[in-house]
């Protein structure tokens, strides 16, 4: 059981801040999904977390202690792109890991490789992109590490192997190990992760338990009889994150207590008031799309 604490992480390349004041606490034994559009800084967060890149400022603690080389006995990392040696065989990579890590289980590694249909005698250069990902995943899951950091662990994999990776993640979680993974496949995150963090342009924009976010975040929709209506300050309510208006239809993104907001909207004269569920993809899109995405956004307090 290992916890990770990232506080106020910053990483700049020249003028550009790839990560800009990122703080996150990853409790021990949880599966944490890191989401974000391309270039949001997910990979940079992983690299800074693991000391692969020097942080401009900020602090990363593993069980309350800063990272030292020995910490890597307890961290297994799958990078975003293949880092396998093209000229080495898969079996030689297994041997490399056996020599590097005390807890590495070569038998388990070969078992996992067989499950992914990877021939250990093959050289890396003969493997497809997906197979390379599978090799790195197999090596990481044979590490018996309490912390797994997986940057896009399913990229290039076919749906069967993607599902297999999810099962492996779930298996690790059941053993009490922590898994932090990023993925563009929100459906996978939705299944495997209990906790998510959404990054956008180097910042943390949303964080919480997936089920809580789904329970709390709702869309409240109402239709007014004509275009001249007043929301009676509902859009100012702190529980309302966003209000969109198209003609006579009002859609409110609420943080929690949707039923109460629905009642208020009905009280303002709206008919056909509905409360709509949001799945993780909706929640993600609301979190990362810029506030001025549509011309229909009613600035808070203007109504």
């Amino acid at each position: 059981m290992s916890s990770i604490k990232i506080s106020n992480l910053r990483k700049t390349y020249g003028q550009f801040a790839a990560v800009d004041g990122f703080s996150l606490e990853i409790p021990a034994g949880s599966v944490f999904g890191l989401l974000g559009p391309n270039g949001a800084g997910k990979t940079t967060v992983f690299k800074c977390m693991l000391g692969l890149a020097r942080t401009t400022s900020g602090l990363v603690l593993f069980d309350g202690k800063p990272l030292v080389p020995e910490t890597f006995e307890r961290i297994a990392y799958v990078p975003e792109r293949s880092v396998l040696y093209e000229w080495m065989t898969v079996a030689e990579h297994v041997e490399m890991n056996r020599r590097a890590f005390k807890a590495f289980d070569p038998v388990r590694a070969l078992e996992l490789l067989a499950q992914f249909n990877v021939e250990p005698a093959k050289r890396s250069r003969a493997l497809s992109k997906g197979m390379r990902t599978a090799v790195m995943v197999a090596l990481a899951f044979a590490r018996n590490a309490p912390i797994l950091v997986l940057d896009e662990p399913t990229s290039g994999l076919d749906p069967i192997n993607q599902r297999h990776v999810l099962s492996l993640i779930i298996n690790e979680a059941a053993r009490g190990n922590s898994v932090i993974f990023s993925s563009h496949q929100i459906g996978q995150v939705e299944r495997a992760a209990e906790h998510i963090a959404v990054m956008d342009r180097g910042r943390l924009v949303l964080e919480g338990l997936v089920d809580d976010l789904k329970s709390d975040r709702k869309i409240v929709e109402g239709i007014f009889p004509n275009v001249t209506y007043s929301l009676n300050g509902i859009a100012n309510d702190p529980r309302v994150l966003r209000a969109d208006r198209t003609e006579r239809i009002v859609r409110l993104l609420v943080r929690d207590d949707a039923d109460n907001i629905a009642t208020m909207l009905a009280g303002a004269g709206a008919t056909g008031v509905r409360v709509l569920d949001l799945n993780l993809e909706d929640i993600f899109l609301f979190a990362v799309s810029p506030a001025d995405a549509t011309a229909d956004v009613i600035a808070k307090g203007s109504s």
Binding site: K47, G51, L52, P69, F72, I75, V83, Y85, M96, F101
Partner: protein, 350 residues
């Protein structure tokens, strides 16, 4: 990472072994062709430069009296006497223990010369009534001759292996940097593997030369203090050379191949410019002025690879000698370069 480096060294040594094997075959074949002096067939096509002009060696046989005899110690002696040309050839074939050939010419040659190439020595001396050329195919061979060639091969292998850090930086840094061992340890481990590979290449070359020798002749080496100097200084030079390449590439990610490729011409040019007599032209002085400080940090400036010939008993070009000045310089260079490589590599980011 050291494991990967060992694998890489293994692959490199496998290639080196193949190359050495091919060279061995070539040497054995060449020795068979050129050193088979004395048999009739081998004389045809050979030009002899005599006082009476160039003649084909087989012409000596025309009108010559050839006698074969076996001496009490088993030596097969062939004597060819051509009174018309005033030439007398005596070939003593000791079989595995080499050949001793004496060619007497009636013409008078004043210049005396002794040339040695490895175990082969050629000597011309003035004797009463003419001159005598003596050829020995199995003279005692200075081990330094073997060591110098092995050092040269070791330098090539050092150049091939010379970028362990850049190779790691090129897409595999994540593996090295998420390893429980500290970076410095990993760096030294990789360099140690390479150095072991370089030493192995040196030994393989010595073995190859030995086999090339024993294919035709009994081993007949001499070993003296100077040979130790050549070996020690050669290793120091190779070490410094390898360390320099490591330092030059430790921060690189891709272009390390170019650095390794131009290292030889650049280093040789610098070493040459610093010493060559270019005259007093301003440009020449500028070149020397620029090259001299560079030559201080260039391991090649401290290694001398003269051709391993001896003329009149002296090396025609000097092998690496003079331990007093050059050994400390090379070791200090190696140390500085290793430190520079490690410092740079510790700062590389993925």
């Amino acid at each position: 990472m050291a494991y990967v480096e060992w694998l890489r060294v293994g692959r490199c040594l496998k290639c080196t072994a193949w190359v050495l094997l091919v060279v061995l075959c070539l040497i054995v074949a060449a020795e068979y062709t050129f050193l088979n002096i004395g048999s009739r067939s081998s004389l045809s096509g050979v030009e002899l430069h005599t006082s009476s002009g160039d003649i084909n060696a087989s012409e000596i046989l025309n009108g010559a009296a050839t006698t074969y005899s076996t001496l009490p110690d088993g030596t097969k002696r062939t004597t060819i006497v051509n009174p018309a040309m005033g030439i007398r050839v005596t070939v003593d074939d000791h079989g595995y223990f080499g050949k001793h050939v004496e060619i007497f010419e009636r013409s008078v040659k004043r210049s005396e010369k002794l040339v040695g190439i490895g175990p082969v020595s050629l000597q011309r001396t003035a004797v009463p009534g003419g001159s005598m050329v003596t050829i020995d195919t199995n003279k005692p061979e200075d081990f330094a001759y073997v060591a110098a060639i092995a050092t040269f091969i070791a330098l090539i292998v050092a150049t091939i292996l010379g970028a362990p850090f850049a190779r790691q930086n090129d897409g595999h840094l994540e593996i090295a940097l998420t390893n429980p061992a500290p970076r410095t340890t990993l760096g030294f481990g990789a360099m140690l593997a390479d150095v072991a590979g370089i030493v192995a290449a040196w030994l393989m070359t010595v073995a190859m030369l030995f086999f090339a020798h024993v294919a035709h002749n009994a081993p007949n080496y001499t070993y003296g203090p100077r040979d130790t100097e050549v070996i020690v200084l050669g290793f120091a030079g190779v070490l410094a050379w390898y360390a320099m390449l490591c330092a030059a590439t430790a921060s690189l990610r891709r272009a390390y191949g170019i650095v390794l490729g131009i290292s030889w011409p650049v280093a040789l040019l610098v070493a040459w410019l610093a010493k060559a007599d270019l005259g007093d032209a301003p440009m020449a002085q500028l070149l020397r002025w620029g090259a001299t400080p560079l030559s201080w940090v260039d391991p090649f400036s401290y290694l001398h690879f003269g051709p391993a010939f001896t003329v009149n008993g002296r090396p025609a070009g000097s092998l690496a000698v003079s331990l007093q000045n050059e050994l400390p310089a090379l070791l200090i260079l190696a140390l500085i370069y290793v430190t520079l490589a490690i410092i740079q590599w510790r700062r590389v980011e993925a």
